[in-house]
């Protein structure tokens, strides 16, 4: 910081001392203590800033609406130590209860099906379901693809022939 050519504190020094909230140290501080002009100028800026704050408050309305707080949250939601684990436990228990006690109510036997259980959602018998599963396990491709797949024409190639075709045996591969 440097003083201006008149020997007084520069405006920057005055602002800086004002922002810091204390007199500057060193020669600038000594000057400020001794110079009524600089103190007056500093006070002028300070008064303008205070006037700004006062004017803003005067020009703002007062709140007219009463703050309405929400009611306290239920006690269970305040069980912080358990938190999510407790909630998850309750959810799992509720789900288990639904599965164990409500699901049988929706089960029914197929007429003439000798007690085969049909799920309420699917409506498909166990046997039909298992047949589908078995078919898909053996070949997941639709019938249209099955017709053109090599497996449909295994009479043309056995496994060794296909392998030999794909990976021909070389006599000079160094292994024989």
């Amino acid at each position: 910081m440097k003083q201006d050519t008149t020997g007084h504190l520069s405006p920057e020094e005055l602002v800086s001392s004002l922002v810091d909230g204390k007199d500057p140290g060193g020669p600038a501080g000594l000057h400020l203590q001794a110079c009524p002009e600089c103190r007056l100028e500093r006070q002028r800026i300070l008064e303008d800033l205070r006037a700004l704050g006062r004017k803003a408050r005067d020009c703002a309305p007062e709140p007219a609406r009463k703050i309405v707080l929400p009611s306290r949250e239920p006690a269970w939601s305040r069980l912080q130590p358990f938190g999510w684990a407790l909630g998850a436990g309750f959810a799992a228990a509720a789900a288990a209860a639904v599965i164990l006690f409500l699901a049988p109510v929706h089960q029914d036997t197929v007429p003439g099906g000798q007690g085969r259980v049909v799920t309420a959602a699917g409506g498909m018998s166990d046997a039909a379901l298992m047949a589908d599963v078995s078919r898909l396990t053996e070949n997941a491709l639709p019938d249209a693809y099955a017709e053109i797949s090599p497996e449909a024409s295994t009479d043309a190639f056995d496994d060794d022939e296909v392998l030999d075709f794909v990976v021909p045996i070389s006599d000079d591969d160094g292994l024989t």
Binding site: I45, L52, R57, D58, A60, P61, R65, I67, P70
Partner: protein, 214 residues
């Protein structure tokens, strides 16, 4: 902008040394914050009584809309009520509250910008502005003041503007401002220094304020 003039100046402003630390907290206030943090609703309501005016004004300075300021202030206290139990140091309550309010104001402007995109195409008018403008016309002096202040604030950077408002309009101390903005004190002082230096050169605004002085 509003219809009544309440010049309560109990507030704060001038009593605090410029740039200095925030004043020591009232022991009763500390007790209230502790009780509120422990779940005491009455204590929190007492804190509302203490800070509602400040927060409302703080929001109003940034929105210049009484309706919006009322709504945002309500939201601020609800958020504070839900989170007050996280307050460990009662001294931090005020900066924490201002931080919530500042975030709420920023959210308000984000939503407003988003709405303006749609109103641009639909031709809808922003509700609630016209009546306030009409009332403001009855109080030209206020309108003039906010006009001068707004003009000055446009000359500041975003950081300078916020620091300046928190310091000289909201009357927070440097440490409180640092807490509200999540910056260190020297950064706050740097922005404040630049803002005050620009304010010093704002002859028209300063002249307007001088006319108002008793």
């Amino acid at each position: 902008m509003q219809d009544t003039l309440h010049g309560d100046s109990q507030a704060t402003g001038s009593g605090q040394e410029e740039g200095g630390e925030s004043p020591a907290m009232d022991p009763r206030l500390i007790a209230e914050v502790r009780q509120a943090a422990a779940g005491d609703r009455a204590a929190f309501e007492s804190l509302i009584g203490r800070y509602q005016g400040e927060i409302f004004r703080m929001v109003y300075y940034r929105t210049l809309s009484r309706m919006d300021a009322e709504d945002i202030t309500q939201d601020v206290f609800i958020k504070a009520f839900r989170g007050v139990e996280t307050i460990r140091d009662p001294v931090m309550f005020k900066p924490w509250l201002y931080r919530i309010a500042l975030n709420a104001v920023n959210d308000f402007y984000r939503k407003k910008r988003l709405r303006s995109i749609f109103t641009l195409f639909s031709g809808d008018r922003e509700e609630g502005q016209a009546p306030e403008e009409d009332r403001a016309s009855e109080r030209l002096e206020r309108k003039e003041f906010w006009g001068w202040l707004g003009k000055f604030l446009t000359r500041l950077s975003a950081a300078e503007k916020e620091v300046f408002r928190l310091k000289y309009l909201d009357d927070l101390g440097i440490r409180e401002i640092a807490e509200v903005l999540g910056k260190n004190e020297s950064t706050v002082k740097t922005h404040l220094y630049r803002a005050v230096d620009k304010f010093r050169c704002e002859k028209e605004l300063c002249g307007f304020l001088k006319e108002e002085k008793p």
